[in-house]
Amino acid sequence: MSKLFPLGITIIIPLGVIFLILSFPLTSNTGPKSFDPKVFQTDEIELLTAKISEVDSLLTDSILPILADLKGSKEGADKLEQNMMKMKAELANFKHILPKGQNNNKIDELLALVPGDQAWLDEIQDFILLQSSLNNLKIRWEPDIQRVQKGQRMYKQLCMTCHGKNGDGVPVTPEKSVTVPADAESSVLQVRPRDFTGITHKDKKVVFKFISTEREYSPALEDDLRNTIKSGLPGSPMPGFTSLSQEEIDALVDYIKTFAYLTWKYGNVNPKVYVSPKPPHDLEAKVRIDKGRQAYLTLCMACHGDIENGKDPEKDKTVDWVDSSGKPIPIMPRNFAFEPLKKGKFQELFNSIRLGIQGTPMPSNPSLSDEDTWDIISYILHLRKMANEGKLPHKKN
């Protein structure tokens, strides 16, 4: 015992005291004071900054120097042509990822100049002017590093599991069936999470399905993304993140944009926004339903099927996104009567009919008049009512 006593004093008691001291910050409610998240995230901030500066340098390092070189290389026609081809390839690459618009047209002008052409040599001054205008491309969006960083943290928590670590729509934890019940296979579509980078698109473009601008003129409006995050897409696993505050959603949208940095940065500054009219009050009138049925039979039935007579939508329509083997992914058109609508509000549906759904076989119908569109919507409403009352033939019921 007397031998053990010093052992207790020298080892066990100091250990206990150290343990108590160490455990104090865990138990006390000091929070951020004892924990600095920056310590853990330096690498990530650096990576993010590097990513952003890397894409910026594509313009300043590879395109602009080539253009500057051209001025002094009049004598070497070969070198000139070589440079020109290089630049054209760079420009074409760059143009490819840009949505249509002012910036895109400017690059078209550049591309139209043919290497070796005498006219081009004469216009070299104009050309140099144009290249400086490349430098002065209109900038739609610049990331705010603080916000992007906040968004990144939220992305990791809320989006990464489905949309993937790199935003390419490859889930971190893939699921065999996206929704749970096995018997609901027919009613719930297999949905692929949106790819924010454009890698899985057949033309490597960033395309969002539900937008309120004219097709292909902009990846989407910020408000479109905000809307989808807030209200979710019923009928898919995408939930509505209603509990997020406005700043949090903004941060999230900012981070999502960094996945396709150039596309968003040089996208159309003022994309043409399509504003759908307010719904009329007589949507449930029989006249409208009948007219809507006629329009549906001519316009929509080919893909969406004769739902009223129990026919399912056609399958095997392909979309613009490809799977890992390069094959386009098949989708099934919505069955309006039995399935939830991803964008189910009247005006959203109006937009979908008018502008189409990008990347899918759903076309835009710009020639359809407002009244005809409302007729179709009132017919869809009628179909949904019938389905809820159990009056529609369907294999599920």
């Binding site: 928590q157 019940p181 209603t242 509990s243 809820n388």
Partner: protein, 227 residues
């Protein structure tokens, strides 16, 4: 000590916790009492030489086992009347008992809770379903049927105020239920370490009046649902 109880079966769970606490307290006090008594009574000065006493083997077994069985029986009774009341009720029984109910499918995901609502018609997988992340809104005094599952790894649905904690396991779906007795805003957490952001996997539980719930449901279900 415990958070406020807002569910109809919460007191049963609290009782169970209390009973287990009292039993362990009794055993602890008894065991430590004997140890302390022995240390003082048989210290080196008063008892320099160790003595061993051997009683009949069977009596030790009886004392130990009798105590164990009694305590086990008490805990078992409390469990059956308490927790089993929550989990051993079939969905159809509950539905036939309460005509009015709310159906919610909960999917735990890394790292948020996804609440699938049945919509206005109260039927799952129909055209007015909708999904909300991290917010569970339910009416007061109404049966809420939860169907728990996970999309990726094991999560655990934990609503301390409801005294409800149940694992969400991928590939399995579990039915649990509750009935809230008080309106307000409470917290839901994930009680199973599920990954790096586990600590942020929180959701809000909002218990509202029946009228508020109805208007909320109407608003969420979207215009193209049947009104």
């Amino acid at each position: 000590m415990l958070p406020e109880n807002i569910s109809t079966f919460g007191h049963l769970v609290d009782n169970l916790i209390l009973i287990i606490f009292v039993i362990t307290l009794m055993v602890t006090v008894l065991a430590f009492g004997i140890i302390i008594y022995a240390v003082i009574r048989y210290n080196r000065n008063s008892n320099p030489h160790t003595t061993y006493k051997f009683g009949p083997f069977i009596s030790k077994i009886i004392y130990l086992d009798a105590a164990m069985i009694v305590f086990d029986l008490i805990i078992a009774y409390a469990s059956v009347s308490g927790w089993a009341h929550v989990i051993m009720r079939s969905r159809s029984d509950l539905i036939s008992e309460h005509k009015e109910y709310v159906d919610v499918r909960i999917i735990g995901r890394q790292f948020f809770w996804s609440f699938n609502y049945a919509g206005l018609d109260n039927k799952m997988d129909t055209n007015d379903d909708f999904i909300i992340a991290n917010k569970l809104v339910v009416p007061i005094d109404t049966l809420v049927l939860l169907n728990l599952t996970s999309g990726d790894v094991i999560h655990s649905f934990f609503a301390p105020h409801l005294r409800l904690k149940y694992d969400a396991i991928p590939g399995r779906s579990m039915d649990v239920w509750f009935k809230a007795t008080k309106t307000g805003s409470y917290e839901i957490a994930c009680a199973e370490l599920c990954g790096a952001e586990h600590y942020r996997m929180k959701a809000k539980l909002e218990i509202v009046t029946k009228e508020q719930y109805k208007s909320w449901l109407n608003e969420r279900s979207g215009a193209l649902s049947v009104r």
